[in-house]
Symmetry: C5
Subunit: 175 residues, 5 copies
């Protein structure tokens, strides 16, 4: 079989995040994992893209179902002031349990975050892991014992800076 | 395998619910379970967060499909008066049966409650159990024989106070 | 296992349906079953709640996919006149076939009816059976040979009266 | 088991389609099947309901994902002129392949067509087959070798005339 | 079994893309595959339909979840200028992994792209492969070792030109 390189390649553009205002909304379920993901996103944005730590607002909610509402309400709040959030990252960890809770929450949240981004005109990064077991969640937060572990928060941080910078241009009619 | 603490950690903030107005809409299917969940939510809000009993409006509908409509209509009703509901909890218990009723109701209701919260700007807590059997429902209402039983209404009460208090701030532009 | 009473308990309130205007929209697929369901709903509303037979408008469409559109359009039609429909019941019977038609129709219709109720402010009862075989459909229309048979139209009629009466209050700001 | 008559019964009303304007939008994938379905719908409308051939506009798109957009855009186009389309039929044939393309397209299209009908106020008949194999598609277009074959386009044509005629009344406030 | 010709037949109309403005938004995950798809779409539009290379704007985002937002935002940007995009192609490659990420992203994106097209009035072609393994993705980008390989970008390019040209007519009320 012909093979190809898996994963995401970086943009050819260099993004300067120094004037970006970023909102991270995260859950407090499975908090050790969430914390690692938030840290991965935050450190990536500040160290790789010059996002200022004071321009990253970190807010928490209880569970993933609250993420779309909180994102929408906080975006609205920021628009009352002088400095809008340029991009939002919603971070949570859903793990399959014995009921169907996982499936219905994951579906409603993935659609809800999409709606909030399209309604508000502010890009919202979907940083919700939808895992079938604990090991999958740990590994995707860069924790656990596997070699293949990788903190997805890093990807979300990169994605957020890119979308935030690009959307500023797009909102000015620059393509 | 590296392990982590399951469940939700409390917010570092202390929330004062003494001025909150809360709506609980619950179903009357599988009522003994629903009643335990409603009680768990109510007692948690009054005893842990000083929510006043007279500020909790408890309304019922027949089944879970009615929850989004009732929540929306009651939110609108409250906005006609002087005191809006600050937060809503929708409580129901869906249990898998032999037809596909469970799946389609669960899907429509989880999406419908999300829509009502995003449309209205009032946070709506998703307190609908989506269980594959009776035992799962009992256990999640703090009933039944298992050691692991836990009344999820407690979590929903906490979540509601937090979202209600936070959203009051967010609506004023405070982040 | 601790047990609990299955099914729905009646509201503690008595509902007077004598001034309600009710729309039933039903399909004509699997008509013998649909007819039993419509009759169950109608007789329950007139005999138990004093809904006037002349205030129940019964309209038909071909299949379930037409239900949301017909409900929406008929609600709009009633709002052109002096007497709005206070509540709608959509009745249909979907039975799993060999293609995926069942699944996509059921999904679109359960979401569509939810949308129509939330958009219009008129409660719409979801009276669509989503069955995996003929026997399940017959039993839920009170037909067939099983002891456990129960006409779900009865539940939908009760639910409709309750939602219709309650929503009249809610629309006036009474909670 | 008690049995019942499967299939759809005709309306008790006779519908006169002589003044109806109908839009058919069909795909060009699996065209031999689509063509049979379009012909079934068209011939039924003209021969059974006096719909005038010149009042049926037949438009094509490539695949099923394009159907909702085309229906919406063509409805808007017709509203710019003096004669609106009274009803639309979207016709396509989706057959399960080895990827998940079938599932996601079917879901988006069944929801998309529902949205277009509810947004526009023009009934849109869902004439998309969602088949697990070729034989199912052929049979439902009245092709193939089986005795049970039946051209579903016939049902869609009947459904379209009924919805078109009824919606004209409903739009005038007549129920 | 009666057989039929699989695949899509060309439109009987000849489309002239020489005045079309096309937006391609593609992801950078599994980039070698995406690149082949973008090239397939681009070359088809320029060589078969006279679309001018300078009228094709190619923009990238990180992953498929960003496609609907980027499409919406870029459409809005183009409407601020004098030359709107007439059609958009969203290109990405989702491959099933061990978590449920694939399913929720695919669902949200297929619905999100549909929403953007219906909201904006600009046709958006769904060029997202939803594959269960690498081989399926390669084959559908015209790569890999199989005889049956076919670059789907070619189909999307054709579809885009057709929808772009037709929608220009439809927007002027020409059917």
């Amino acid at each position: 079989m012909t093979s190809f390189t898996k994963g995401v390649i970086p943009s050819t553009e260099k993004f300067d995040g120094s004037s970006l205002r970023v909102l991270i909304v995260h859950t407090r379920w499975n908090y050790e994992i969430v914390e690692a993901l938030v840290r991965g996103a935050t450190e990536t944005m500040t160290s790789e893209y010059n996002v200022k730590a004071e321009n990253i607002s970190i807010q928490s909610v209880s569970g993933s179902y609250e993420l779309p509402f909180a994102a929408q309400s906080l975006i609205k709040a920021s628009k009352m002031g002088t400095q809008w959030f340029n991009v939002v990252i919603c971070i949570g960890v859903l793990i399959k349990g014995s009921t169907m809770h996982f499936e219905y929450i994951a579906e409603a949240v993935s659609q809800g975050i999409m709606r909030v981004s399209l309604d508000s005109g502010v890009p919202v990064v979907f940083g919700v892991l939808t895992c079938l077991n604990d090991e999958q969640a740990l590994e995707r937060a860069g924790l656990g014992d596997r070699e293949s572990k990788h903190n997805h928060g890093i990807d979300w941080g990169r994605c957020a800076v890119e979308m935030g910078v690009k959307n500023c241009k797009w909102m000015s009619g620059i393509i």
